[in-house]
């Protein structure tokens, strides 16, 4: 939960909301905590907020680590499948062994 996901800023609107690219998925995030971030920068994003501008190399390395993780870990960390509509139970934990 305390892992921030590296993302590239595509654009930033007047309200301080950036369009970002996370593992190929477009998302919004606030740049309120990183006021110096600009389009083209890589940022660490956590809970919908950029928390640090980083070098592209660091972004690549952390992304590589993320991609090695299981789908469940990845979904939890990026929130891509974790966030949902109110209906339905969360997916049961998948079998642990591999």
């Amino acid at each position: 939960m305390c892992l921030a996901v590296p993302s590239k800023i595509v654009s930033i609107d007047d309200g301080g909301i950036a369009q970002i690219d996370v593992l190929g998925v477009r998302r919004d995030c606030s740049v309120r905590l990183t006021p110096n971030a600009k389009p083209g920068d890589y940022v660490l994003v956590h809970a919908g907020f950029a928390i640090q501008v980083v070098e592209e190399q660091e972004a690549d390395e952390t992304l590589r680590l993320l991609q090695e993780m299981s789908d469940r870990e990845l979904a939890e960390i990026t929130g891509q499948q974790g966030a949902d509509a109110p209906a339905g139970e969360p997916a049961a934990a998948p079998a642990a062994a591999r």
């Binding site: 305390c2 309120r32 905590l33 809970a47 919908g48 680590l65 939890e76 591999r98």
Partner: protein, 367 residues
């Protein structure tokens, strides 16, 4: 992934080998406990078999680094009680809804028809509040310094917009006081700390300095790659070897020594330190983040006092001891028997970042 360490799977096997050689050399004649306090480190160490790669005399312990695991049963019961207030919407992060309270989980409450929504960002919860003006929307917040500034910024936005139907329940925790509490715990002996990565991105190094100055115990901030963790371990052992205790940054790619000052100010603007109860560690002074009185209108803890059920801990679960590093997960009598990833008993097995889950998934064994 096997328990046996497969160096070839590392991005830089040669560097990993060199670091392991250095660790071996520095470890000679020593018997030290090194603790990591970050859920992502827990998972990395288990995944890459780093624990079994350590020479004799170097023990890697897992500390209170899993945010939902350290959340007390009373806090979870309070969140569940809030979810039972008629006609409210409660929102939280995914991990939280599976964690068992004294008699139920947020997920089970949702199955009973309560409006419990998993969000990716507290800003999503804010959007629900804007869209549903007659309904009260709660965000149930837990987690460490990485998360707290985001919640603070969200509260500030709600305050500025005068969104009277948005409330936060803050079970946020501060990492450095927990580290000092571990040092004060007579049952645990930790000789060095692998300090968290993205928590430190926010805090910087300063809050850890008392560890070195007061307790004479070194700490090294580490990244998440296996070679990052090995290099932090080598730097800790080098300090111990020289009789030094400093706080070092081995993750300069993601952490500035001063941290993120804007985010630190955001925490201070919206929250104030308070005493907080941690599972296993008990009450730690100044380790929580309470919403300042100025924002009381958005503080679920002040605005509501729902009936909270009496706290009952999961029977036989030793999460509290696991979180303090007193026992390894596989020493819990329920581990792998009554408690598995499919049927978790305690929060350390429920959360994917929990030590029990990491041990179980990667079939680690303590020695």
């Amino acid at each position: 992934m096997a328990t046996k360490t497969d160096l070839d799977s590392f991005r830089d096997p040669k560097l990993a080998r060199e670091l392991l050689d250095a660790i071996e050399r520095l470890a000679r004649g020593k018997n030290v406990n090194l603790m990591e306090v970050c859920g992502t480190h827990t998972v990395s160490i288990a995944r890459y078999g780093l624990r079994s790669a350590m020479p004799e005399g170097v023990h890697l312990l897992s500390g209170p680094g899993c945010p939902v695991c350290v959340t007390s049963n009373h806090d979870i019961d309070t969140m569940i009680a809030l979810a039972r207030i008629p006609d409210v919407i409660v929102t939280t992060f995914g991990d939280m809804i599976r964690v068992p309270g004294s008699s139920t989980t947020l997920g089970a409450e949702r199955a009973q028809g309560r409006d419990v929504r998993v969000v990716y960002s507290p800003l999503d919860a804010l959007a629900f509040a804007r869209e549903n003006p007659p309904r009260r929307v709660f965000f149930l917040g837990g987690g460490f310094e990485t998360t707290t500034p985001a919640i603070g910024a969200t509260i500030l936005t709600a305050h500025d917009e005068g969104l009277g139907n948005f409330f936060v329940y803050s079970a946020h925790k501060r990492t450095p006081p927990a580290i000092m509490a571990i040092e004060d715990d007579p049952e645990t002996q930790v000789n060095g700390f692998i300090l968290p990565g993205h928590v430190s991105t926010i805090t910087g190094l300063a809050p850890y300095r008392p560890l070195a100055e007061r307790y004479h115990v070194p700490g090294v901030v580490s990244g998440f790659e296996p070679v990052d963790i090995l290099s932090a371990i080598a730097r800790l052992l080098a300090q111990i070897d020289e009789g030094q205790a400093r706080i070092e940054n081995a993750y300069e790619r993601g952490v500035l020594d001063e941290g993120n000052v804007v985010a630190q100010r955001m925490i201070d603007r919206v929250f104030e330190p308070c005493d907080a109860t941690w599972r296993g560690l008990g009450v730690i002074p100044g380790s929580g983040s309470a919403i300042r009185p100025e924002f009381a209108d958005h503080d679920a803890a002040r605005a509501f006092s729902p009936d909270v059920e009496p706290t009952v801990e999961p029977r036989g679960c030793r999460c509290g001891d696991v979180l303090r590093g007193v026992i390894a997960p596989d020493r819990c009598p329920l581990f792998g028997r009554a408690c598995t990833a499919e049927h978790p008993v305690g929060p350390c097995m429920v959360s994917s970042e929990g030590s029990c889950a990491a041990y179980f998934r990667y079939q680690e064994h303590s020695r």
